[in-house]
C-alpha cells in the first residue's frame, strides 16, 4: 500500500507543533540570556530550516520585547471586540492545571 503521507503537510504539522508555546518559551529564555541552543535544540533546528518558523519567532520576539519594555501596558481602550461568537456555543469548560 502506498504511503499517502504528504511530506509538505507533515513538515507543516511539525512546524506548528514547534510553533505553539515552545517558540514563546524559546523567545523568553533567549531574552533572559539562557543557552537556548541547549535548552531548545528542536526549535533551534526548526529556525534554521523553516522560514515560516523564523517569521513566527520574529513576531513573538518583537511582542515579548514590547512586553518587557512596558509598551503593552495601557489604560486606554483601543479595541472593541465583537463578542457575538460567544453566543454561538455554550460556555466551554476546560480541564486546567494551574
Amino acid at each position: 500500500m502506498a504511503n499517502k503521507t504528504d511530506p509538505a503537510r507533515t513538515k507543516r504539522a511539525a512546524d506548528e507543533e514547534v510553533n505553539d508555546l515552545t517558540i514563546a518559551e524559546y523567545v523568553a529564555a533567549e531574552l533572559d540570556g539562557q543557552p537556548v541552543a541547549q535548552l531548545f535544540p528542536q526549535v533551534q533546528e526548526q529556525l534554521q530550516s523553516s522560514a515560516h518558523t523564523r517569521k513566527i519567532y520574529e513576531h513573538l520576539r518583537a511582542i515579548e520585547l514590547a512586553e518587557r519594555e512596558g509598551r503593552l501596558d495601557s489604560k486606554e481602550r483601543t479595541f472593541t471586540a465583537d463578542l457575538s461568537f460567544l453566543k454561538n456555543k455554550g460556555v466551554i469548560r476546560a480541564k486546567t492545571h494551574r
Binding site: 510553533n19 511582542i63 461568537f85 460567544l86
Partner: protein, 263 residues
C-alpha cells in the same frame, strides 16, 4: 537581594511597585484586590526560591494576570466571560500593533485570534501561560492576513501595459519594479473600474455593492454574505446574475476586458 518577608520595608516597596503597575493597566479591572494580587505575586517568587527583582516580578505578575484572564474566559458567568475576552482583545490588539502598522489589519487579526481562542481554549492546559498561548494564536492569524493582503496587493497593481498584453492576459510583477507611470496607470484603471461599476445601469444597486466587495475589494464571499445579511447561496445567485450582465456587456464592448477582470 534577600528574600522579602511581610515585615520588610523592601516587601512594602515591591507591593507598591506592583500595585502602581497594575493601576496603570487595564488589568486592574480584572483584579479584585490589588494588594492581595501583589502579595500573591511576591509569594510565588519567594516560594520557588527565586530572587525578587524587577525582572522576576515582571514575569510573575503577567503569569498571575494570565491565570485570572483565563479563569474569566472560561467562567460560566456570561458577564465575567465577556470581561475576560474584552480585556484579552485589548491586550492582543496592542500586541498586534507592535508588528503591524495597518490598524484595520491588526483589528481583524485580533478578532480572528479571539474567535480561535474561544474555539481552542479546551487545549489550554496551563492558565498561567494562557496569554502566551493567545499571542501565538494572534501571530498565526496576523501572518495569514498579511500573506492574503500581500497577494491581493500584487493582483491589484500587476496589470501589464496595453501594448504588452495579450487579450485577457494579466501578469504578476513585483510592485517595486513598476515605474511611477505604470503605478499611476494601474491606480487609474482601478479607479475607472470602480467608477464604471458605480455608474453602470447594467447592475442593480445590490449587484453593484456585491461586485464592489467581491471583485474590486476582494473580500471573502462568506464575509460579504455576513456583512450584507444574506445567505451564501443568495450571494452566489446575485454574483452569477451580475457576472452574466457584465459578460453581456463585454460582448458589446472590450472596455471591461481592459480592466483585466476575469469574468
Amino acid at each position: 537581594m534577600c528574600l522579602p518577608s511581610s515585615s520588610d520595608a523592601g516587601f512594602d516597596l515591591w507591593i507598591t511597585d506592583i500595585t502602581t503597575w497594575l493601576a496603570g493597566t487595564r488589568w486592574l479591572a480584572a483584579v479584585d484586590d490589588p494588594h492581595t494580587f501583589a502579595r500573591a505575586v511576591l509569594r510565588s517568587i519567594t516560594d520557588r526560591g527565586a530572587t525578587v527583582s524587577a525582572k522576576t516580578i515582571g514575569r510573575e505578575r503577567l503569569l498571575h494576570i494570565s491565570a485570572i484572564v483565563y479563569d474569566l474566559c472560561i467562567s460560566p458567568d456570561r458577564s465575567r466571560q465577556e470581561q475576560g475576552y474584552t480585556l484579552l482583545g485589548e491586550y492582543l490588539f496592542r500586541a498586534a500593533r507592535v508588528i503591524e502598522e495597518d490598524t484595520a489589519l491588526a483589528q481583524d487579526a485580533t478578532q480572528e485570534a479571539l474567535e480561535q481562542t474561544y474555539k481552542k481554549i479546551r487545549s489550554v492546559r496551563h492558565g498561567r501561560l494562557f496569554l502566551w498561548w493567545c499571542k501565538t494564536v494572534l501571530v498565526h492569524s496576523l501572518q495569514a492576513l498579511q500573506e492574503a493582503r500581500n497577494k491581493r496587493a500584487l493582483r491589484y497593481v500587476h496589470l501589464p501595459d496595453d501594448d504588452e498584453r495579450e487579450p485577457g492576459e494579466t501578469r504578476l510583477v513585483d510592485p517595486e519594479q513598476l515605474s511611477v507611470e505604470q503605478s499611476v496607470d494601474n491606480a487609474l484603471r482601478c479607479a475607472s473600474l470602480r467608477r464604471w461599476v458605480a455608474e453602470t445601469r447594467l447592475l442593480t444597486p445590490r449587484q453593484k455593492r456585491i461586485v464592489q466587495l467581491v471583485f474590486i475589494e476582494e473580500h471573502n464571499t462568506s464575509a460579504v454574505a455576513h456583512m450584507l445579511g444574506i445567505s451564501l447561496g443568495a450571494l452566489y445567485v446575485a454574483l452569477y446574475r451580475a457576472k452574466a450582465r457584465l459578460r453581456e456587456s463585454i460582448e458589446r464592448t472590450d472596455e471591461l476586458r481592459a480592466f483585466g477582470l476575469d469574468l
